[in-house]
């Protein structure tokens, strides 16, 4: 399997004497695969994603994205990656089309007008292209954020809670588009989410984080079986509360 992302013993400490935000994390994602990054608030998901994107320098460890070492060659990797988070906005006063043009230029997208038209068709944005991004509903903003994340046809996509605050119908629509894009392009996806149904549906493998450490990993089916639970939410609670069902594992 060709690896899109390799993370080796990644750690981040913000200050001496404080527990590390991320502690010796190792994992990899193959092309066309989706890895779910799960953990409670403060588990280290955002810090991990920030290091994968080169926004934060690790205290130790190594990230290789699409064959490029992020410590020495991050811009070559960033041109083929993209990122979406509901917590980082696009400029509100610019129209949807202007926003997509800005990011199309930043990512060096060839035939940009055609790419924007293609995304507008695929993500049902045609009627929104002239609207200021700040005047859109949460669902519309999510579609625009997804369009921005796909503008450069990324080979590696990092998604931080891509369906947060969306109604079930819109959430399902976004998940369908992500599945379609992955199937079409072989893109690798790292998904941080608190929506366990979403993780079960999209992820080939799940990495459970607690206090910056990987505490378990496996396919959703393996985790359910290991913890003797019916859904990932119960597994998540077992891990987050430390009430791991030892008897079920015995």
């Amino acid at each position: 399997m060709t690896l899109a992302l390799t993370v080796e013993a990644l750690s981040k400490s913000y200050a001496p004497g404080r527990p590390p935000a991320v502690d010796s994390l190792s994992f990899s994602i193959g092309r066309g695969r989706t890895l779910g990054l799960l953990g409670g608030n403060g588990a280290g998901k955002t810090t991990t994603i920030a290091m994968l994107l080169g926004l934060l320098v690790p205290s130790a460890g190594r990230v290789v994205a699409l064959g490029h070492d992020m410590a020495t060659d991050r811009f070559a990797a960033l041109a083929r990656m993209n990122f979406s988070s509901p917590y980082i906005a696009l400029p509100h006063r610019l129209s949807v089309e202007e926003n997509l043009r800005v990011y199309g230029h930043l990512y060096g997208v060839p035939r940009l007008a055609a790419r924007i038209a293609e995304l507008a068709r695929d993500l049902e944005l045609a009627d929104l292209l002239d609207r200021p991004a700040g005047q859109l509903s949460a669902g519309q903003k999510t579609r625009v954020a997804l369009a921005k994340a796909l503008i450069n046809r990324p080979d590696l996509l990092l998604l931080d809670e891509p369906t947060a605050s969306l109604d079930p119908d819109t959430g399902d629509w976004v998940r369908s588009r992500l599945e379609a894009y992955r199937a079409e392009t072989g893109c690798a996806i790292l998904l941080a989410s608190h929506n366990m149904a979403e993780v079960e549906r999209l992820c080939d493998e799940v990495l459970m984080l607690k206090q910056g450490k990987a505490v378990d990993r496996g396919t959703p089916a393996e985790l359910l079986s290991r913890y003797g639970r019916d859904d990932l939410e119960q597994v998540f609670l077992d891990i987050a509360r430390g009430t791991r069902a030892e008897e079920a594992l015995a």
Partner: protein
């Protein structure tokens, strides 16, 4: 590294701000507001000081008005750079910018381009007003005007890079510097009076600023019709030194922000 790709990324950043101004006329008006207001106030002051209402385009008045116009170039250049960076913080867009392939030096190049555009939009109406209201035509400085103007714009970039580095270091708390820092240098920049007026111990401080050399050169050109190449060379030499130092400071603070995680919550 491909030059065309770099140029396109810089254009992406510039386009983002041009689109913003196209959709926000108040921002455009605000660009012109202060330089025009300064010109109106200083125009009347010089008319009053000249004491000859029908001869305000005297040499002395010209020196004051020329000072106002050229100092605005430095002020608007510095603000154009710093405020364009702050716009990214205010719109919470910096995260997307920093995880795109845009290199830090390309970010700086984009901010410099925006600074020039904003400066021209701000200063040209004030120049036109000076000619229309007070018969002061700064274009009579000829090609020297371009050299003075460029030197002051470069000084504005150096100060703005320092301000941006402080914003990276201290976060939004350092925002106020974007508006105030260059005003604080006005007394030492010898905008309205020669450096020789300053106390002896302050003269070296003034001569460490490119602006003081530019305004000495401007006075020589306007009052005596003489080109002060020595002052001009000193201004450009100092600009190279200050730009180099501030670029190092910016690079250091950008790297420190990546280590400390400040880029994750810089707007807070």
């Amino acid at each position: 590294m491909n030059g065309a790709s770099s140029t396109r990324r810089v254009w992406g950043l510039v386009y983002r701000h041009l689109a913003l101004y196209r959709r926000s006329p108040p921002r455009l008006i605000e660009l012109m507001y202060w330089p025009v207001l300064q010109m109106v106030v200083w125009g009347f002051i010089t008319a009053y000081l000249a004491g000859v209402q029908n001869n305000v385009a005297s040499a002395a008045a010209g020196v004051l008005l020329g000072g106002v116009l050229l100092w605005e170039a430095a002020l608007r250049s510095q603000m154009g750079f710093s405020i364009s960076f702050l716009e990214e913080i205010w719109s919470r867009n910096l995260g997307h910018i920093f995880v795109s392939p845009l290199r830090p030096w390309e970010l700086v190049a984009g901010l410099m381009t925006l600074s020039v555009l904003r400066t021209l939009v701000a200063v040209i109406p004030a120049m036109a007003l000076a000619w229309f209201l007070y018969s002061f035509n700064i274009l009579r400085l000829g090609p020297m005007l371009v050299l003075f103007f460029a030197a002051l714009v470069m000084m504005g970039w150096a100060v703005a890079m320092g301000v941006t580095a402080l914003i990276l270091r201290f976060g939004a708390g350092a925002e106020a510097l974007a508006w105030s820092i260059l005003f604080g240098l006005t007394p030492f920049a010898a905008v309205f009076y020669p450096v020789s007026i300053l106390p002896d111990w302050l003269e070296p401080v003034a001569y460490s600023l490119p602006a003081a050399h530019v305004f000495e050169g401007m006075r020589a050109a306007l009052l005596e019709g003489r080109a002060e190449w020595g002052h001009l060379a000193a201004a450009y030499g100092l600009n190279v030194v200050w730009l180099g130092l501030m670029a190092l400071l910016f690079r250091g603070q950008f790297q420190a922000a990546r280590v400390k995680g400040a880029l994750l919550n810089i707007g807070e």
